[in-house]
């Protein structure tokens, strides 16, 4: 299930601030409470794909250790895509919530 939403997850992890690959993985793990334990090797190709899709931009920046690392940030299109995805996800979650609510209601009624 996560595979189909990888792009949205990566965009969401970058919503607050630019970050490099490892920090993005840590952020996904932290914000999902450890639930999203993605294969880390899939994050870098996703970042590359999103960058080529114009949703992310990247640049080389020096880390504290002096090493050069690639830092990614959301572009305007990326921010817009994230807002759209968030709204879509919210509608989906509401619909599923309603469905489960109805189902549990109906089955409770049935039992009575």
């Amino acid at each position: 299930m996560l595979k189909g939403h990888l792009d949205m997850i990566v965009l969401a992890a970058l919503a607050d601030a630019p970050a490099h690959g490892y920090a993005i993985i840590q952020e996904i793990r932290r914000r999902s409470g450890g639930e999203f334990n993605l294969p880390e090797g899939t994050i870098y190709p996703a970042l590359h794909r999103l960058e080529h899709g114009g949703l992310l931009s990247s640049r080389w920046a020096a880390a504290d250790t002096g090493r050069q690392r690639r830092v990614y940030s959301l572009t305007r299109s990326g921010r817009r895509a994230l807002t759209d995805q968030r709204a879509l996800w919210q509608r989906f979650a509401d619909a599923i919530g309603g469905l489960f609510g109805e189902t549990s209601h109906a089955s409770a009624g049935h039992r009575r």
Binding site: P39, G41, T42, Y44, A46, H48, R49, H52, Q68, R69
Partner: protein, 236 residues
């Protein structure tokens, strides 16, 4: 900082799997190296490196994920070079035509068949290349990168190369005719310093067509190398 041998081996394997796109291979190697340094910063042991590598997954699997975007980037590059080349050749052809008019350099009448049909074939070859180039460009621009290299996406990428291939063939024909027709005019006009201008412009056209041909060959090689990453999946 000392790097465990297992990390160096993994990075070498990753670079090898990404050999279909050398620039990408350098970039990914650097990013993954940084990732592994971060992941093992606290412990710095071989065991920690082994765990970090296991979390990243097999090098070939990572490389496979990069294939769709790398191939699309390459065909977009081909498309851009194609459009720029067609525009440049158009300008050079028009400029040469204006120069011939200005200097009153006519085609040598000793070869009436070439004189009668040559310029027409040349014009149609270029116009066909122009139309095919524009269609190809719009097709390439309409493609969106797929998350995986599925059969449909592979077909789209191959289609992206067919039109540039046709364009380069037509442009080669047009440039070859330019060489013949230009030669006939120069025979008539006698060699002079002014003759260097059309000769140089034809040489530039030839270089542009050769560049497209080389680029198409490289793209084909890249597709073949990238496809080899999926060979065992298809046979298995």
């Amino acid at each position: 900082m000392h790097q465990p041998a297992i990390v160096a081996d993994y990075l070498d394997a990753l670079t090898h799997e990404l050999r279909f796109d050398l620039e990408l291979a350098r970039r990914v190697r650097s990013e993954v190296e940084d990732h592994l340094l971060e992941a093992t910063a606290a412990e710095g042991t071989t065991d920690a490196a082994r765990r970090a590598i296991a979390r990243l997954g097999p090098a070939r699997e990572i490389a496979r994920h990069y294939v769709p975007s790398s191939l699309l980037q390459q065909v977009r590059h081909v498309g851009a070079v194609l459009i720029v080349s067609i525009a440049a050749i158009f300008v050079l052809m028009k400029g040469r035509g204006a120069l011939y008019e200005f200097l009153q350099w006519r085609l040598n009448e000793d070869w009436p068949q070439i004189v009668s049909v040559g310029p027409t074939i040349d014009r149609y070859a270029f116009q066909s290349a122009l139309v095919a180039g524009i269609v190809g460009w719009f097709y390439i621009a309409s493609l969106r990168v797929a998350p995986t290299l599925h059969a449909g996406y592979r077909r789209q990428i191959k289609r992206c190369l067919i039109l540039p291939l046709a364009v380069s063939g037509l442009l080669m024909g047009a440039v070859a005719l330019d060489v013949i027709l230009g030669g006939l005019r120069l025979i008539e006009a006698r060699l002079s310093w002014a003759a260097l201008i059309p000769l140089a412009s034809i040489a530039v056209e030839a270089v542009l067509v050769a560049t497209i041909a080389v680029l198409l060959r490289r793209t084909n090689q890249r597709i073949a190398l990238a496809a080899s990453l999926f060979a065992e999946q298809q046979t298995g």
